[in-house]
Amino acid sequence: MNAATSVFSHIDYLVAVALFLSGAWILLTSNNLVKKIIGLNVMETSVFAFIVTTGMIDDGAPPLLAAGVEGPFASPLPHALVLTGIVVAVSVTSLALVLVLRIKAELGSVELDEIESVGEHDDSAGPGGGSG
């Protein structure tokens, strides 16, 4: 199995990994907090895509044992995992969005560098500023 065919046969995994890395790039380099959340979601989708493809079978039927359906069935486990993963992604993203709302309301901006610069001014008071 020379390199070319192995790359071609693993194309689904490679795409998933590429998506993962691009999501990571967005998350790490973007200055806007909402963009970071978007980057996080891109990474999550890529991991879910990767897991589903591990359960795939060439020209296999979806794991529904309805009467009269034969042939190799796709593995049901990855589907269950991804279902759970999606729910996790929803909850984390919703919490992140609410935090961004609160940061916007209390620190005045969602741009990281603006927040940091604001942070420096009252840094002398330090975290909490002794307000208990």
Partner: protein
């Protein structure tokens, strides 16, 4: 600004460097789609082989979710509720004053009001038929949530949030977890193990339906609740 510029270049280089081992590692995995790959020969083969009579549903994914790996799904339902709990605990005290949602044009208002019942029926269909067709509690819940959000977009959050009292909303949101906990406890006398579904098909089928409904309604209510909190509608 150049500190930020170098930061970006540095991250790009880091990500590029990370790509090589990742891609190389993934390449050595057994190619997807091969029938003899370990992914299909081990646990999955057993699921497919005994799925129908043990798992209790033609849709093997629902069988895995509700029967084989019930603890995962219990964890899941809990994560959904915790998401709402977290949002409620953290939602800032600052009231979202200012921009009132622009009143929708009558056409949009009328269409949504027409669509709502149909979405609800379809959601119930997806929930109930989860063990035959692709579907189940989570998918149904998302549909219900989408309906709630659609309605509150059209009519502004308050009317939708006030359709029932806040107490009831919270009980609805906890429906998923409480139903699952009850069924899990029920599993103890029936099968001698927590989270165990009984082997008798009809009782198991009934319990699975109850679970699906709990997850669906719970999920829908939570998604609605998330929107209400973010929109600052709910007076928690």
């Amino acid at each position: 600004m150049n500190a930020w510029r170098t930061g970006r270049i540095l991250t790009t280089v880091l990500i590029g460097a990370l790509a090589v081992p990742l891609m190389y590692g993934v390449l050595h995995l057994p190619p997807p789609g091969q029938a003899d790959a370990p992914a299909h020969s081990n646990v999955s083969a057993k699921y497919i082989e005994h799925g129908a009579e043990h798992g209790g549903s033609e849709n093997l994914v629902t069988g895995v979710l509700l029967n084989y790996r019930a603890l995962d799904t219990f964890g899941e339902v809990l994560v959904i509720f915790t998401a709402w709990l977290a949002v409620a605990a953290v939602a800032g005290t600052a009231r979202q004053t200012g921009h009132e949602s622009t009143p929708p044009s009558p056409i949009v208002d009328y269409v949504i009001r027409m669509l709502a019942p149909f979405i609800a029926v379809f959601a119930l269909f997806v929930i109930v038929n989860g063990h035959v067709l692709p579907g189940g509690g989570f998918q149904g819940g998302v549909l219900l949530g989408a309906m709630l959000i659609l309605l509150s977009l059209a009519h502004g959050g308050e009317p939708v949030a006030d359709v029932v009292s806040l107490r009831t909303w919270i009980w609805l949101r906890a429906a998923g977890v409480l139903v699952f906990a009850l069924v899990a406890l029920l599993g103890l006398p029936l099968t001698g193990y927590l989270f165990g579904l009984p082997t008798d098909p009809t009782l198991r089928h009934a319990l699975m339906i109850v679970l699906e409904l709990g997850i669906g309604i719970g999920g829908g209510a939570v998604l609605g609740g998330l929107y209400f909190s973010i929109a600052g509608v709910e007076r928690s």
